[in-house]
Symmetry: D2
Subunit: 478 residues, 4 copies
Amino acid sequence: MHDVYQDPLVSRYTDKAMQIIFSDDFKFKTWRRCWIALAEAQLELGLKQITQQMIDEMKSVDVIDYEIAEQKEKEIRHDVMAHVYEFGTHCPAAKGIIHLGATSMFVGCNTDLIQMREALVIIKAGLINTVHNLAQFAEKHKSLVTLGYTHYQPAQPTTVGKRTTLYIQDLLMDLKNIEHAESMIKARGVKGATGTQAAMMELFENDFEKVKKLDMLVSNKLGFESSFPVSGQTYTRKLDTVIVKALAGIAESACKFATDMRMLSNLKVQEEPFEEGQTGSSAMAYKRNPMRCERMTGLSRKLMNIQLDFAHIHSSQWFERTLDDSAIRRMDIPQAFLLANAILKLYQNITSGMVVYPAQVRKHLDEELPFMATEAILMHLAKQGKDRQEMHEIIKYHSVAAGNAVKLEGKRNDLFERLVADGRLGMSRQYLDNLLQEPERFAGAARQQTEEFLEKEVSPVLKKYSELAGKSDFTVSV
Amino acid sequence: MHDVYQDPLVSRYTDKAMQIIFSDDFKFKTWRRCWIALAEAQLELGLKQITQQMIDEMKSVDVIDYEIAEQKEKEIRHDVMAHVYEFGTHCPAAKGIIHLGATSMFVGCNTDLIQMREALVIIKAGLINTVHNLAQFAEKHKSLVTLGYTHYQPAQPTTVGKRTTLYIQDLLMDLKNIEHAESMIKARGVKGATGTQAAMMELFENDFEKVKKLDMLVSNKLGFESSFPVSGQTYTRKLDTVIVKALAGIAESACKFATDMRMLSNLKVQEEPFEEGQTGSSAMAYKRNPMRCERMTGLSRKLMNIQLDFAHIHSSQWFERTLDDSAIRRMDIPQAFLLANAILKLYQNITSGMVVYPAQVRKHLDEELPFMATEAILMHLAKQGKDRQEMHEIIKYHSVAAGNAVKLEGKRNDLFERLVADGRLGMSRQYLDNLLQEPERFAGAARQQTEEFLEKEVSPVLKKYSELAGKSDFTVSV
Amino acid sequence: MHDVYQDPLVSRYTDKAMQIIFSDDFKFKTWRRCWIALAEAQLELGLKQITQQMIDEMKSVDVIDYEIAEQKEKEIRHDVMAHVYEFGTHCPAAKGIIHLGATSMFVGCNTDLIQMREALVIIKAGLINTVHNLAQFAEKHKSLVTLGYTHYQPAQPTTVGKRTTLYIQDLLMDLKNIEHAESMIKARGVKGATGTQAAMMELFENDFEKVKKLDMLVSNKLGFESSFPVSGQTYTRKLDTVIVKALAGIAESACKFATDMRMLSNLKVQEEPFEEGQTGSSAMAYKRNPMRCERMTGLSRKLMNIQLDFAHIHSSQWFERTLDDSAIRRMDIPQAFLLANAILKLYQNITSGMVVYPAQVRKHLDEELPFMATEAILMHLAKQGKDRQEMHEIIKYHSVAAGNAVKLEGKRNDLFERLVADGRLGMSRQYLDNLLQEPERFAGAARQQTEEFLEKEVSPVLKKYSELAGKSDFTVSV
Amino acid sequence: MHDVYQDPLVSRYTDKAMQIIFSDDFKFKTWRRCWIALAEAQLELGLKQITQQMIDEMKSVDVIDYEIAEQKEKEIRHDVMAHVYEFGTHCPAAKGIIHLGATSMFVGCNTDLIQMREALVIIKAGLINTVHNLAQFAEKHKSLVTLGYTHYQPAQPTTVGKRTTLYIQDLLMDLKNIEHAESMIKARGVKGATGTQAAMMELFENDFEKVKKLDMLVSNKLGFESSFPVSGQTYTRKLDTVIVKALAGIAESACKFATDMRMLSNLKVQEEPFEEGQTGSSAMAYKRNPMRCERMTGLSRKLMNIQLDFAHIHSSQWFERTLDDSAIRRMDIPQAFLLANAILKLYQNITSGMVVYPAQVRKHLDEELPFMATEAILMHLAKQGKDRQEMHEIIKYHSVAAGNAVKLEGKRNDLFERLVADGRLGMSRQYLDNLLQEPERFAGAARQQTEEFLEKEVSPVLKKYSELAGKSDFTVSV
């Protein structure tokens, strides 16, 4: 274990539940589930080779003898046939009818689809619980006025809660993308070597209605409402692209959030929770490094870029199928889901205890409020009928001068003195001072928007997915 | 024009209709449309500064004086304010209220959204017409049996029509992705510099209901059913990712189709239409190069990769907005739509006259049919109760030998002679010869699947979008 | 011009010099240069069809009649043959021998290579001048102690100059990559339709030595020292990947620099130069938005991602050549160079007047110096033989407490009081106060490293490329 | 092992030697190597805390007690300090001076650099042995004339050997890129928390010369000739990009080769070696699927795209360092090298026994030779002074007609009959028949080029790297 490379996605960052879905055990047990569904459906449709006893026998097997399977695979160099053989060693009666009329991709594709379907449930749980955490945070801080930033320069104030709704809105859009992707998942069903169902047509003596029925029965038994209407040897790899693009969307949202958080940490305004005993660094004990956000950023970039693999896989499949999808999907499908899982674990973890420092929030605001007020002053002057562009120029002149005083001389912000002194504006000191008393007046409808957003956009979703609430592990090691 | 670089997307590959959407004219006229909608809504909500006469005045202006705008922009270095000024030169009465309480991104975002909404209509028209062409082709050749290919090696036969359904299925999924993306497009509405609607709250004296109403009225006037519930300075760039991922999906589908076509051309089985007078190459006059498919492949790769730009744009937006999205979106949104347009023009062009050579189809099939028949023979033997794995090994042995005879000695395929001669199989020559008479028996349910697919999957979509049929230009220069 | 999409790379961001290289004029004039070189070499090697008069005639032509060429291209649908024809209309004598024995890619490839070779000179000039600016800035501020940042949290101080050397080092590595790429550029020479030089072997009656000589002569006449030893129809597209990866490296370096600058602007520590008359935004007059750095970031992301196109172009070329490279290279090669040019224009522009605010630098430093000092204190205690890990824990405890006082209560930093009060450390107030007097003691060898770096790493390069100094335009419109 | 996801890169595709380099054992042993080098250098430079006995003690430790390290890491949440502690448990004397004055990245960076340096040796061995195999194949088949393909349409013949030189040329360029990357690898040396060497300046009482000496001594002891002149907390991540871009170049070359091979397999012209006992597929026994080439294609796409991760890692590093590089590099550096290793194992394996079928080669050639001959005929007619463009049109007319006869009616190629019958050409049957006798006359200088390429380009490289010949394992499981 220590002598060869270990994938840190598994050893460090992800849930056991997700790791299991992409394990050998899960895969080979699902293969057997496919074989049983096939035999059952064939029996139901009157195929004489199959008996109920065979099916009962198959269902009763619980162990996988990996040694036998590996031995056989070495010999015949074919993993599906090796596992047909291994399964047969436990099923003397059914041995001859396992995989009857099927091809490798019957188990391969349907298992892939089941894995992704199951994995998406874990992803949705992560999404829902993150949204839940963020919504609580937004509600709590909906009125906490803070500097807005555009160009990462101070801009019109917003509230901490309102800013948080932006992250939530992105995640709700991701959820819609996931739901859209889910709506496109169908079984691959029983389609045969090149998708023509030739072997099943042969078995059922060219009775197309029976063959269609078989396809549907097997799909239903595997938990799908329908199957892809047509396929080559595999289901279309476009489905993979739709799913992974939706997963990558989560990464894109998470990356934006994490990057903001890393800057908020610099500003000492907002921080990820800090674990007791966590060491900043060997040299700098006092540091509270936003390490989970940094990790999220990195993992997100990988997931964002990985979506391109799937675009190239799908677009370069030749005819009914080529195998250049195999090795790369074997790595990339697990990686995509494990990365999404790792990211959402972090996102939940961080949002479960996210810290905000109101004193710091206010400090930054106060330093910039005179500048902030220029927009209101401009509106005020415009209402008085003054020329907006002219007033804009004057205020700009004084703003730049006041800004320079801060930057060049380390002085405090003296903008208001300068404005009062400029007769062209005709401003009273009283008016200006009043402006600063209530910072919330600069935050527009930030509070109201937050309330409305939580009520109209977030609540219905949390309600819809209430069964997933709390169903997600978010312990992370730092 | 000849002295500096010209983007070939514009000069060579795309529709005027798409080029117009991303032109200066369209942009600045849409800015004015936004300003008019804003003033109208402000008037409706009782803002005293605005009069109907001002609005009428604004609506009556038709020309844009680019020289004035450029001159002003040079002076104040702000494109939106320059165009406010320029518009004002035509509107002496409205001059002071144009853009009242708005910020640059009020016109910027809403215009982007309108451009993308309009551009998607052109894209859908291209999709629908391509599906229409492919469906006709599939119907026509639903029974034409052809070699299937897996690993680009001969595999169970399918039909030309059935293979075509695979391309259609991908495009129908793309259409669903486009529709999903469309369902997520909302107006940016009137949200203010950091999304708090502060200026509008100021204008409407903190009446949030009026401010909400304004946002909705303007959105409706611009043709949107609703607006984003929350925003920073811009609408979330996640929307761009959803749209461009859907566009890139078209590229992925087109790339697969085009690559298959390029190999079918090599096989002399299927070809893109060849224009009268087209020259193969200066040296090789006889060649019928699949140049349009090659071009599709290249353009598709670019569009596939460009989707990553949008992932990185969205994920790296800081706080309420940073401007690192500006220059890249200015190039990438037009490029993404122009590329999708160019690809779909080619796709329609090719499918409008796609050629198939039945004599060649049959020639390839006959060369491989004895090998093809081994699956049926195996089923036949399995039905007789013989051990599948053992029979598999025997047939494989002879298949490889027959294959070697072809490859090593250039001999004809003598597989059947070999099988008859092997007593372990107990096959009659008569049984084997019968197998080859009707190639359709190897094509399983390919024909039936095609019929069902066209009826159940394709027809409803073509009907739904019948108004787009024929509304798409697909002349291309080769 | 206003009625269709215009590529902003051309209309906004780049040098005329670069735009010209990828213009029609440059391309077609280079085609003619290739034809003249070919004819000259053929004449020198004794080919009887060619006369000196023909060559003189070809050399005397200066105009391109685009109408004729376009007319002919429409007719025969072959751009090279159309331009052979057009050139011929000016050369009655040479008409029959233009392009003799050559194929399209003779002019196509050699022209591409010449374009890239010329464009790289502009790129190198941009690099060199940026390095020059940064070096001056580093020299000037080599002793200005500033907070270091790791995790974007305060870390051991460095100097403004030392930090600047990190950007320079990246650019010097980019320069090495460019030089490496240049070392791999060779002419495509005269290789024929599939690279076998068949037509030339025919012309020279199978005299391979002459054919080799021809290839070398033409290459030399076109300014190359050698030609690719082997080729298919085109030179290997791997060369494109090497060049564009090197260009993308510049984007990667620039993106890092620009991102740092955007955060330094937030900190009011460092700023890009602000043009007289530049407007922050319509609403917020006082803002000094780092718009050029933001633009650099966006343009850089596009160039970074575009390198992938070239990887896929090369890796998917089939056999001696397929045309799926054509449309995408026609866009991507100019885009890659134009983007690199735009980025370097910005980089030069910014570094030509980059502003630093020492008062702000010191303010940030003072706020964190007590924390900063903990490393020195730890070393000091370790030297006294105390257990590093134990001392680390104690100091960390007090650091976190002091940090919380700042963050939670807005108090000033009281770390030193806390340390003096903890008997386990045995620290004197005097020792601690002394620590803060000279911030440079915390900056280690930052100054010395900067000096050494500028002398040993930068100076030799600037000297080597002194002829490029100042040869680069860096005016940008904001 | 079967219950969670296992990375198939490790379990299936790569060399133990490569897996080891990225193992815990290798990493932590290299950390110790760094600590020993540091202590030795500190001793040599006169630091009194260090004794020779301590160093001997450190050198004598061979085991790593992972349990202790993990226990400690859980407690203090810092992997480097945990391993300092664990190492200390074996070194009672040295315990206090391990890692003296160093930071985590001292071991982190230097170990990364050593891992990559060692891994590149394995990569080069794979490259060299692949080139060796291909060169032997090219030599053997340098005169075997085969159809060239452009647009994947028959084109001027080349030879099997000549085509092979194209793959070799790409690999030789990759090798140059690897050598270039290697030339840029330097030690990170001893640079301190933010690269200022502050702790070492403290230890050596501000003696910069000693600190420089220390940096160099440690670098040399770790096998590097020099160290990066400047760094932040880590060496510049640009180096990673240069290395991985070079690795990805191998993928790009391999992908092109593998794709050609997959089409050559379809043409039954060239095949990867087929292992005794390998099963085509469960259904189609006779198939010889190019599975290794397909796998190469897929793995190559992943490696090609992964290079983008590194571009984004480098470009988004903030200031002296942010940790968003950590998790992604932890996965991507091993993945990049393991993928390159897997690809080169396949490339060697395939080229070690690549099969060519001369009878098939000739069959394809004969089918197209009359078309092929048109170029020669055109040259022939041009030499007679006929108008090239006019002759081109005539021949094209007949070529298309003959091609149609083949495609539409399945007839044999009757082009020559058609040409003889057209009086405008004045061709004798005799002349035409002679053309077909010696296909090598259509292959130009393919043979000579191959010979020259192998002698002048390949031999010197194989000689230079003769010590790597045969030093590479290329068994693969299929």
